[in-house]
């Protein structure tokens, strides 16, 4: 698994000019940073030193970043769209260096090992730098089309310049392959089906010359296109829920991409996303508030990123991901009870008053945690009241670590002399119970038959482990309706009416089981835990799930109610998976399974109808969209169909 290490500042950036690109340089320790105007700088990454700086004349804009060409041993870049500049290490003034002007705007320059530099023009023409003048005026793409991304990819006997062209809301992929054996260029065009707004693109070629292009959509989609000479294969990978509004991506390998602009745990940062397991595997918050669009580059085992007014470098360790590493993340953290409890104040402005409050808070908390200091319920309640008041003041809540709160919860749960029901309720209501203690909490609540608190936990806790969900289910199914009514304070108006003839449970019980079914879960873990549910309860649960899916009662389940139809179907699948043998063998389950099959067939028919309807409506939509008149200009060759 690739992992990001601690970052360091490589250079200060000018607020005037945006960074254009970071490219490799002569030495493997060095990088070339190109800005839109002002300077072209070369840095040594190891000691964060500026080695070279070439100033740019006023009015000169660098439109294609500086690249180092090993073959020619020179730097190359493009000024003001059309002027190619080349110079070597000894040249200090760019204005006096070799220049070549072409008549067409250049999109980007590329180098690849063993070849001369390649020029890609904005009209789609690509050629080696020596021959570009002869082809640059022959457009490959239409005058209205614009290139949105371009990169170079390798193949066994040559290389390819790929570029994405946007025209009339349509994206096409163009490949200009250079074939060594015939020394000729070959042009191919592929239409990309992904037509949504794209935040960023990145491209990678592995050692077996497999090329892939990633598209990061603004609707958080990650999309992958495998490119080879015979065609393209498109694949939707995943929705990245952690993605912010603006992001930049770069490839580490075929399955791992670095994304700058993730939003996780309330922080914006940079992370490595694994496309195989569709998860963020390493995350680092931005070192400072990033007010500009983050741009990320990968070079020499470092990730480079502009953040605020500085250029940061994140060294990273490369490695392939395994499933065990991902699953290991969900294991519970080692208990650190032995570590001493200290409330750390990170504030640099030390104030006596503030310090006193924190100190007081620390003392009260220690009293609450220590059973010897708060032996009876009254004392505990008093201290807890003071502690809560203190905690609510100002930003004191940030001074308490989750570990300390876990300890407080553990004290509450393990207390034999009294049952601090009210205190637990307050902790739950204020959200001070972390998910680390949730399994322990639920176990105790079930044991003490605290239906009311259990219901509150379901509402307030964000991540309830699958094992606990099954425990709760087992407990709820086992209870009678009367038990609920006795020991539960719930707003009756929120309870959804049920059809008494069809529903296997009473209204209140059904309502609570719905709450359980609506909780998020992972099916891998759920199947495992569902096996612990006894068979009688499995049948009851399946019966209820069947009721939710098949009943005509529109209040039962729909897209808007909880649980959603999708959840119900997932629960049915998982339950059947977990108890497949017993369900086949048991004669009690036969009728239920037949009924379920019928209900599922009905749903399938319904969705088949929806698919047909969707196709029809999409046709209408395409027909009804306003036609955009193409701009013809002075001359064009167009296709005319008269009949």
């Amino acid at each position: 698994m690739a992992a990001l290490m601690d970052e360091f500042v490589l250079a200060d950036l000018s607020s005037k000019f945006n960074i254009l690109s970071i490219e490799r340089s002569l030495s493997s320790n060095n990088i070339l940073a190109t800005f839109e105007a002002g300077f072209i700088n070369e840095y040594n990454v190891d000691d964060q030193k500026l080695i070279h700086s070439w100033p740019l004349r006023h009015g000169v804009n660098v439109t294609s970043p500086v690249i180092w060409c090993d073959e020619e041993e020179e730097y190359i870049c493009v000024f003001n769209q059309q002027e190619i500049r080349r110079w070597n290490v000894d040249d200090n003034i760019i204005d006096k260096t070799k220049k070549k002007k072409i008549k067409t705007d250049i999109y980007k320059l590329f180098t690849t090992e063993g070849y001369k530099p390649i020029v890609l023009c904005k009209n789609g023409a690509a050629e080696f730098i020596e021959n570009i003048k002869s082809v640059c005026e022959t457009p490959v793409i239409g005058s209205q089309d614009t290139i949105v991304y371009a990169d170079i990819i390798k193949k066994q006997n040559g290389f390819g310049v790929i570029y994405l062209v946007e025209s009339k809301n349509k994206i096409t992929l163009h490949c200009q392959w250079y074939l060594d054996d015939v020394e000729q260029w070959k042009h191919q065009t592929f239409v990309i089906t992904y037509q949504k707004t794209v935040l960023d693109y990145c491209c990678h070629t592995d050692e077996n010359f497999n090329n892939c292009l990633f598209l990061l959509g603004s609707n958080k989609d990650l999309y992958r296109i495998d490119i080879n000479e015979s065609g393209t294969e498109e694949e939707f990978i995943s929705v990245i829920h952690e993605l912010g509004t603006e992001a930049s991506i770069v490839c580490l390998d075929n399955s791992q991409i670095v994304i700058a602009g993730l939003h996780k745990k309330g922080q914006n940062g940079v992370g490595i996303f694994d496309t195989k397991y569709c998860a963020v595997q390493s995350f680092k918050p931005f070192p400072e508030i990033c007010r500009v669009v983050p741009r990320v580059f990968c070079l020499n085992n470092h990730i480079f990123m502009n953040c605020g007014k500085k250029l940061y470098a994140f060294p990273y360790q490369f490695g392939t991901s395994t499933l065990s590493e991902f699953l290991g993340k969900s294991r519970s953290v080692e208990d650190t009870t032995n570590s001493s409890l200290h409330i750390i104040n990170w504030s640099t402005k030390v104030k006596n008053k503030g310090n006193n409050t924190v100190k007081q808070l620390e003392n009260i908390l220690n009293d609450l945690i220590d059973p010897s200091k708060t032996q009876n319920k009254n004392k505990f309640s008093d201290q807890f009241k003071i502690f809560l008041e203190c905690l609510m003041k100002g930003d004191n809540s940030s001074s308490i670590s989750s570990l300390q709160m876990i300890q407080l919860c553990q004290r509450c749960l393990s207390e034999r002399k009294f049952w601090p029901c009210g205190e637990l309720r307050q902790l739950l209501n204020h959200g001070y119970i972390s998910s680390g203690i949730s399994s322990e909490l639920i176990e105790v609540l079930i044991e003490k038959k605290e239906n009311s608190l259990l219901h509150l936990s379901l509402q307030k806790l964000s991540e309830i482990p699958e094992a606990c969900l099954i425990q709760i289910l087992q407990y709820y199914i086992g209870l009678s309706d009367e038990d609920f009514e006795k020991n539960l304070d719930i707003d009756i108006s929120t309870v959804i009416e049920v059809n008494q003839d069809k529903c296997p449970f009473g209204a209140l019980k059904a309502h609570l089981i719905r709450e359980v079914l609506s909780q998020p879960f992972s099916d891998i873990f759920l199947i495992d835990k569902l096996r612990k549910l006894n068979f009688k309860n499995v049948l009851s649960l399946l019966d209820f799930l069947f009721y939710l899916m098949a009943t005509d009662d529109n209040q039962a389940v729909s897209f808007s109610t909880r649980p959603q139809l999708q959840n119900v179907i997932d629960w049915i699948s998982c339950t059947i998976d977990a108890h497949v043998t017993q369900l086949i063998l048991s004669p009690d389950a036969r009728v239920l399974l037949i009924k379920l099959h019928e209900a599922v067939s009905q749903q399938t028919q319904f969705y088949d109808g929806m698919i047909e309807l969707e196709a029809l409506l999409s046709q209408y939509k395409s027909k009804l969209s306003n036609p955009i008149k193409p701009k013809i200009g002075q001359y064009c060759i167009e296709v005319l169909h008269i009949y």
């Binding site: 002869s134 490959v140 200009g633 060759i637 167009e638 296709v639 005319l640 009949y643």
Partner: protein, 670 residues
């Protein structure tokens, strides 16, 4: 078969010229139109607005007034001469100076024996036009300031002139001013110019002036009867109908305002002029208004003729835009296009692409862009009358008033930027008849067929660097109005002045045959690619196909020509060019100004009453008519080899953008 790859050309910057004067001759049913470049057009309104003749303008010539006298046409302009034009040879026939500076206006007396011109020097000059002559007769006494407008009341022997701040009545007998009508000023120190005048038989003078007022005066007493603030700016033109009960005026404010002479109660004293209709059909200044038997024609800076008709209390307006024929020529073999401007020619090499597409309207990426190979300017300030390019693109030729110029064109396309060489071919001028109005290369490019409007047809042979007249035919006494060359190169079809179509064999110098005469004049004609058939489009949109070998109409034509749907004959824009599909001999492509129609001769004609050119009509593959209305203002449509088509378009917006600004008027919401 209906799929084409189209060279859509919009780089032809053809600009029609503003119209200055209109004059209608009711006996010959001809409308003379003069434009700002001095050219005069003769239109036939009865023949579906066929443009019969064009007398090309000269740069030094301006036409400020046109007067018909029977079949004679007189013009006068700022040059100070009154000119009579020969409508056969399309050249000036006679010219007489007025000796009083520029002429601003011209009129004739009722009997048609005299012309009166209003001049810059402020005097009225009379010309004698009796017995086919044009002679200076007399000059009246001078007045202060120029005479801008003039009208003649023959019975009373009075000429009315309008100038700066006044209207004067002159006695033709004495040559002296007998009455002076003074106009007020709208603003202090701002003169009032009387731009236009008319006089009725009861001596009511109608004037339009720079205050935007149309005034009705009692000519006998010199009093103002009624004044209408009809316009927001200068009234430049007005016209009165034959019955003298309706007047239309217009000008810088392009509203067309009508006035009617109405009787409120019985009795003579109760008749009044009242403002009646207001038509808003022009956007630019209106320079001329003219009454025709069933409509009013108005025209001006907007370059189009606008017709306004009243039918059942409803006003119908129609615009007649004219794009001259033969201003675009194509060398099919070399894919070169020659564009004719007033005094220069441009030769362009068309672009190229290897791409194809199945999607209608898709613009294909270009392998090569179009290149302007040549711009050839005329010597001096001559005007190009006609031009041509040989099919192989090796020769180009053009003709001005006095010369035929032939050039050899060689284009070296090996280089990225083509190298162009132009060599002049010396023309032996002894036998050449000029001015040439029609010019065609033979398909092999060795000969040029030229025709003068007066009826001379000549064959010019090109031998390397020299050219000479090889043959002359003078068999068309009525002149030649149209000419087309057979693709085989041995026949030409000629339309003479009396609208007879003749097929002439140029190898044996014989007229092979004359086509049967049709009630309407032909608008265009062209030989089929095999040269066996001649397709003719008449002014009423009738299409005939004539078999040249059998000397009779083809079977298809005899069967189908009269069975074209009614809607075809009622189309507002009539066919002005014919071309053929090289992939299918049965396909005729008929072009008008706004659309082109492919007629499939192999398909059955639709019913006579079927409305096949409506917007809602969806044509089927088996239909005989397929219309393309995608292009706005078609200058030229030609089918090249395979699926290639050349369309030269000049959009109305592009023409409009080059016109001068209009009168700024406050509009609601702006």
């Amino acid at each position: 078969m209906g799929e084409f790859r189209v060279h859509h050309v919009r780089f032809f910057e053809y600009q029609p010229k503003p119209i200055h004067c209109l004059a209608y001759e009711k006996n010959n049913k001809q409308l003379a139109v003069s434009r700002s470049d001095g050219s005069i057009e003769i239109w036939l309104p009865e023949s579906d607005w066929l443009l019969e003749k064009v007398i090309s303008g000269r740069s030094e010539q301006s036409v400020e007034a046109i007067v018909w006298q029977g079949k004679r046409l007189f013009t006068a302009g700022l040059g100070g001469d009154v000119t009579e034009h020969d409508l056969l040879s399309l050249e000036p026939k006679n010219s007489e100076p007025c000796n009083a500076g520029a002429i601003w206006c011209l009129t004739k007396n009722f009997t048609g024996t005299r012309l009166a011109a209003g001049t810059e020097d402020g005097c009225v000059v009379l010309f004698d036009i009796e017995m086919g002559q044009l002679k200076y007769l007399q000059s009246f006494g001078k007045q202060e300031g120029r005479i801008i407008s003039i009208a003649w009341h023959t019975q009373e022997g009075v000429i009315v002139t309008g100038g700066v701040d006044n209207i004067r009545l002159w006695s033709v007998k004495s040559g002296q001013a007998i009455q002076r009508l003074t106009l007020g000023h709208q603003q202090e120190n701002q003169e009032t110019i009387v731009w236009c005048l008319a006089i009725t038989s009861n001596m009511t003078i109608i004037s339009g002036d720079s205050r935007g007022k149309t005034c009705f005066w009692n000519g006998r007493q010199g009093t103002l009867i009624k004044s209408f603030s009809s316009h927001k700016a200068d009234v430049l033109t007005l016209s009165i109908n034959e019955e003298e009960d309706c007047v239309f005026s217009s000008g810088v404010d392009p509203l067309l305002v009508g006035f009617e002479f109405v009787t409120t109660k019985s009795g003579v004293g109760n008749q009044h002029w009242v403002q009646s209709t207001t038509e808003n059909i022009h956007k630019h200044d209106v320079r001329a208004v003219c009454f025709l038997p069933n409509c009013i024609v108005s025209a001006g800076i907007g370059t189009n003729l606008c017709l306004t008709q009243r039918r059942r209390d409803e006003t119908i307006s129609k615009r007649i835009a004219h794009i001259p024929q033969n201003i675009v020529h194509v060398a099919k073999e070399k894919k070169m296009v020659m564009l004719r401007y007033t005094d220069y020619l441009e030769v362009w090499k068309l672009g190229h692409t290897n791409f194809t597409s199945e999607k209608d309207g898709e613009i294909l990426p270009l392998r090569s862009n179009p290149v302007k190979l040549l711009q050839l300017k005329c010597k001096g300030q001559a005007t190009i009358l006609c031009c041509g390019i040989s099919n192989n693109g090796n020769h180009i030729a053009y003709c001005d008033e006095h010369n035929l110029r032939i050039y050899q064109l060689s284009v070296d396309e090996e280089n990225y930027t083509p190298k162009v060489e132009l060599t002049k071919i010396t023309m032996a001028r002894e036998d050449l008849r000029v001015p040439i109005h029609h010019l065609e290369f033979t398909p092999d490019g060795r000969f040029i067929v030229t025709a003068t409007a007066s009826g001379y047809l000549q064959l010019t042979e090109i031998n390397e660097d020299r050219a000479h007249v090889a043959n002359t035919f003078n068999v068309f006494a009525d002149g030649i109005t149209m000419l087309t060359m057979s693709p085989t190169g041995n026949c030409i079809a000629v339309v003479s002045g009396d609208h007879t179509i003749s097929i002439l064999n140029i190898t044996n110098n014989r007229i092979e045959c004359n086509l049967p005469k049709y009630d309407h004049p032909p608008r265009t004609l062209r030989f089929s690619p095999s040269g066996e058939d001649l397709v003719i489009a008449y002014s009423n949109n009738m299409i005939f196909e004539f078999d040249v070998d059998k000397k009779e109409y083809t079977t298809w034509s005899r069967r189908e020509s009269r069975r074209f749907p009614n809607q075809w004959f009622k189309r507002q824009n009539k066919v002005c060019r014919i071309t053929f599909d090289p992939r299918n001999d049965d396909h005729l492509v008929l072009q008008d100004n706004m659309a082109f129609v492919i007629v499939d001769k192999s398909k059955t004609m639709p019913e006579k009453k079927k409305r096949i050119f409506e917007k809602w009509y969806k044509p089927k593959k088996e239909d005989a008519f397929h219309q393309c209305k995608k292009y706005n203002f078609l200058v030229y449509v030609e089918l090249l080899e395979d699926d290639w088509m050349l369309i030269v378009e000049r959009t109305p917006l592009a023409i409009l953008n080059n016109l001068p600004a209009t009168l700024k008027q406050k509009k609601f919401g702006t």
